[in-house]
């Protein structure tokens, strides 16, 4: 009886694991399968490098080029990451090196609450505060890539802060006493010992945060203007996620437009997989035996 129970438990857990794997495999299979018909009509280079996105042939040939969307996604994600890392790493240094345990234990959950705010709310606040602000500054429609990057940066902050503060805290614990024991001040030790040591850990966490930024849809879509333009700092732009969200409902099932949206989704998916896997592996290699 007991062995039967034991076997049953093992079996259930195995089945659940298989279910997890199958669901992911199926999602990916489905997306690839729905994306492929597009490439029978449009070449890969035209798709990635073309700048005309005319999925429905009102006038002339339909055309599928996602260059601007792809660049828009990359531009806004990297810009957001840059903004978020400047403030986030600063805050992480403070949390790891200045705050005592009580303050840290209060601020950690507080900052992680930021991660719980839904993205539409960030979009709403961006739309009612940042967009009019940029409009008053003379950026004409108000919504622009910089605006989206700022909103996205705020959304990335909790992830960047928590991973960076963890790393810095552990390094701090390991080396700070030794360094200050040699007679240098705390800030000197942080600048010359801890920060240089932390660079490789921080770099990989930042790249993982970029992956998160690229998949973000709603908040970015609401403040970026959504126009198929070559992205510029104060101009409108559109991300791949936004194209899918805006056009999914109007694409006729099985049409080239529909397959085009799947192809765009596949490009985004592959980009994220590449970033996540390479950073995950790089982290393993960099960390090696010296797991913090």
């Amino acid at each position: 009886m007991r062995t039967i129970k034991n076997k049953l438990g093992q079996w259930v857990i195995g089945a659940l694991t298989l279910m997890t794997l199958m669901s992911l495999a199926f999602v990916i299979y489905f997306i690839i399968q729905e994306a492929l018909p597009l490439f029978a009509e449009v070449s890969l280079s035209d798709f990635l490098l073309g700048d005309r996105w005319m999925p429905i042939a009102f006038t002339g040939e339909p055309s599928f080029g996602i260059r601007n969307f792809l660049l828009g996604t990359l531009y806004v994600s990297f810009l957001a990451m840059a903004i978020a890392s400047v403030t986030g790493i600063g805050a992480a240094i403070w949390l790891a090196c200045v705050a005592d345990d009580t303050i840290r234990n209060w601020l950690y959950p507080l900052i992680s609450l930021l991660a719980g705010i839904p993205s539409v709310i960030f979009g709403l606040i961006g739309l009612t505060i940042l967009v009019p602000f940029f409009y008053r500054l003379g950026v004409h429609p108000g919504s622009c890539v910089l605006c989206a990057a700022i909103v996205l940066a705020v959304m990335l902050l909790p992830y960047i802060i928590s991973s960076c503060a963890d790393t810095l805290y552990k390094l701090n614990k390991r080396y700070l006493t030794a360094a200050t024991g040699l007679g240098v001040t705390k800030w000197y030790a942080i600048t010359t010992v801890i920060l240089p040591l932390s660079v490789k850990y921080l770099a990989t966490s930042l790249m993982l945060a970029i992956g998160r930024a690229m998949g973000e849809t709603m908040a970015v879509m609401m403040v970026m203007g959504n126009a198929n333009l070559f992205p510029s700092l104060l101009g409108k732009g559109e991300t791949i996620a936004a194209v899918i969200a805006l056009e999914m409902g109007t694409a006729e099932n099985g049409s080239l437009h529909y397959h085009g949206l799947y192809a765009a989704g596949l490009v985004l998916l592959l980009l994220l997989f590449f970033i996540n896997l390479s950073m995950g592996l790089l982290r393993k290699v960099l960390l090696g035996k010296e797991e913090l």
Partner: protein, 280 residues
């Protein structure tokens, strides 16, 4: 170098001040704009008005959001916890563990809009479920699965190895060990991970687009019907050009209050229960 260290010091202070400033601003601003709208009627009436939602309340959206979240939790958390248990207690080979971890990492990287696209074509169109809570629930469930798995796995790994070894020395089966020791001991973290996953699902809009959330529906009574959801309602209020943004802030305030209060309770609950075996 001394100059540089001064710079780092300023950087740290500016960083934390900016972050806390943004945090305080976000919460107070949403509260400030949303509090006028809040009333019993707003919470208990259905939306109405020329642009839907300009008048009336958000009651069906609140209830609908709970349906979506519940479905997502049901579909997402069980396989997530199963996978976490498998990884920590049953998987013997290093390579398998690594492969599974990478798969979970990939899954966490699938953008939510792509999951929405998948649910829309596969469940809504191909299987003919139509727009319904279940279709969205599947997309949300897949979205929160890796989120819960990572946290649950971390909790299981913190369960002391000495207890596992002791139980094995006594000839206790793994299933018994998991059911009677690991799961009760990690209850705090597991509940927290599920609740946080639920909050994440409740705030997500992209997987709901075209899969199950609609502009207007009455309070749902079945998984096979479409429903309103708070984030979708908020998005539609803004994008369809309601004359006043106040009701949008009211909706945002309610949504944020639900999510943050639940979040906070889960965090505090887990902290109170955290590693009971380490306190003694």
């Amino acid at each position: 170098m001394r100059f540089l260290s001064k710079l780092v010091r300023i950087w740290a202070w500016l960083g934390i001040i900016t972050v806390l400033g943004v945090l305080a601003f976000l919460f107070t601003y949403v509260y400030y704009r949303g509090r006028h709208v809040l009333s019993v009627a707003f919470l208990t009436q259905a939306p109405s008005g020329a642009v839907l939602g300009e008048e009336g309340g958000i009651y069906p959206a609140i209830i609908g959001s709970f349906w979506f979240t519940g479905t997502a939790i049901l579909l997402g958390s069980i396989p997530a916890i199963g996978t976490a248990l498998y990884l920590v207690y049953f998987c013997q080979s290093e390579k398998k563990v690594l492969a599974l971890r990478l798969t979970i990492q990939c899954m966490a990287g699938v953008p939510s809009i792509v999951l929405g696209l998948f649910a829309y074509s596969f469940l809504v169109k191909m299987l003919g479920l139509g727009r319904c809570i279940l279709s969205s629930g599947v997309a949300l469930g897949i979205m929160i699965l890796p989120f819960i798995e990572v946290r649950a796995e971390k909790a299981f790994q913190e369960f002391p190895v000495s207890l596992v070894q002791a139980s094995q020395a006594l000839g206790v089966s793994k299933t018994y060990l998991i059911l009677h020791m690991v799961l009760p001991a990690c209850r705090g973290e597991i509940v927290q991970s599920i609740v946080l996953g639920g909050c994440y699902a409740m705030g997500a809009t992209a997987p709901l687009l075209f899969t199950g959330a609609v502009a207007y529906a009455s309070v749902p009574d079945s998984l096979f019907k479409p429903a309103m959801a708070l984030p979708m309602h908020l998005y539609l209020l803004i994008s369809q050009g309601a004359t006043s943004i106040d009701l949008a802030y009211g909706t945002a305030f309610v949504m944020m209050a639900i999510i943050l209060v639940t979040n906070l309770i889960a965090i505090l609950y887990a902290r109170r229960r955290h590693r009971i075996w380490k306190q003694s």
